[in-house]
Amino acid sequence: MKLKLLDTLFPLGLTLLVLLALEIVATTVLPMFGVSQYRLPFNILIVLYIGFKLETPAMAVMILVVQYFHSFFTIEGWGMGTFAGVLICIIISYLRDLMHLTSATLTILLTMLFQMVWFVILSLLIYLRWGDWNYILEKFWRFIPESITVSLLAPIIFYVLDRIWKGTLSEAFGEEA
């Protein structure tokens, strides 16, 4: 297992670099072009990729690391995203046999579906923390365009991440290439 964990370190590092690049796009480049009301949650995409494709005992730790790096760009912190991400990946692990990301359309639809689950979990956490439904309602109107855009980008980002994790998927996790 140690060897397998070590095998994941290099692709995880590359994945974090991709995350940093995408976060810079979301926080600097898009607002620079006037997209100031909406932010694309690329961290959710990376967490979903981990859930969909990487079957490892260290999955939860990887999500924690991704969310920790995401917290450098937001004051949201890493807690809520990690909680939602791990819960979603547990759900995905039970449904994995029913889901096959064989086409771009399926990838888009499944990404959209699990973003909605993410929204529900996060909303419950926000309600428990702040007790404010108005805030959640306002968040919902922003969630719709943001999640649709991220879902449409999912096949491209997943393709890049597939290239990064390809060797590790086949060797460390025993996948047939």
Binding site: M1, L20, E23, I24, A26, T27, T28, V29, P31, M32, S36, Q37, Y38, R39, P41, N43, K53, E55, T56, P57, A58, M59, A60, V61, I63, L64, F69, H70, S71, F72, F73, T74, I75, E76, G77, W78, G79, M80, T82, F83, V86, L87, I90, R96, D97, L125, R129, W130, D132, Y135, E138, K139, R142, E146, L169, F173, G174, E175
Partner: protein
């Protein structure tokens, strides 16, 4: 991918449960008022923020290049009218200087004491928060420039917010548009007291103003100075909507901030050396005479 065996599922479940507990602990520990980052977090923010800064600067260089060219063409036409304006403004400045002197004399008479002068740092915005839930901006000045946690951010138009997270070279500002930012405020004309909270991308809400307060549309709202974060008298915005129901004890007041957050590029950070403002407040409380 092969399905993991039960023996391999056990450590996964244990890790999942531990991480879920750690995450819940992290959520409960999140502070609304300010974020005390670890040394590693500060190092990472200081490492990635220069990238954000350089992207923002390159955009500014390109736009400046075009602006300079077009501005030069129009500059000679504007020159004459500006000269007239300058002479008018000089007259106004003279009047204001007289008023400031008079104000100081009156304050001395009332024994208000010397007003503490805040130090100012001009900072540029280099990025926005990665989540649209939070109305936070990142600036290119940090602790090395003298900025402290909870220092006030303003522009010439009015208040922007306060420093929520701080690293050596960068700072995150929680703007007044954020729902978690609360500003103690008064209506300038009626001196009605209330609390300002973020509502949307361009509106704030003024809470706890009683129904009998005679506030009207376009009344100016300023900071009250209570709460130990914002100095007194900074403009917040104007009242743009009032809903006064026949029941309840308060009225629903919407504020349009005087700062246009969509066009915000620079802010001024106000901070006080050695927490002088707090010291004066404590002195007043300790010695009410």
């Amino acid at each position: 991918m092969k399905v993991l065996s039960e023996d391999r599922q056990r450590p996964k479940i244990i890790v999942n449960v531990i991480v879920l507990c750690v995450a819940l602990f992290g959520v409960s520990k999140t502070d609304v008022k300010l974020s005390k980052s670890s040394a590693f977090e500060r190092l990472m923010v200081d490492s990635v923020a220069p990238l954000q800064k350089s992207i923002m600067q390159s955009k500014q260089w390109v736009s400046l290049l075009f602006e300079d060219y077009f501005n030069n063409v129009a500059a000679s036409k504007n020159n004459r009218s500006f000269k007239k304006e300058i002479s008018n403004l000089k007259n106004k400045i003279f009047k204001y200087e007289e008023l400031a002197k008079e104000n100081k004399r009156l304050k001395d008479l009332l024994k208000f004491g010397e007003e503490i002068k805040a130090q100012q740092v001009l900072a540029q915005i280099v990025a926005w928060d990665a989540s649209s839930d939070y109305k936070v901006i990142r600036i290119n000045k940090g602790a090395r420039d003298g900025i402290k946690l909870q220092s006030t951010a303003v522009t010439a138009e009015g208040i922007v917010g306060y420093v929520y997270r701080l690293t050596d070279h960068f700072a995150d500002i929680l703007t007044i548009l954020d729902t978690k930012n609360r500003v103690d405020a008064i209506v300038e004309r009626t001196r009605s007291h209330g609390i300002i909270e973020g509502l949307s991308n361009d509106k704030c809400l003024m809470k706890y103003v009683t129904r009998i307060e005679p506030v009207i549309i376009n009344d100016v709202v300023i900071t009250s100075g209570l709460g130990n974060i914002y100095p007194k008298g900074i403009k917040i915005g104007t009242i743009s909507r009032i809903d006064r129901e026949s029941y309840g004890i308060t009225q629903h007041i919407e504020i349009t901030p005087s700062v246009n957050f969509n066009r915000l590029e620079e802010v001024i950070i106000l901070f006080f050396k050695r927490n002088e403002l707090h010291k004066v407040e404590w002195d007043v409380l300790d010695n009410p005479k």
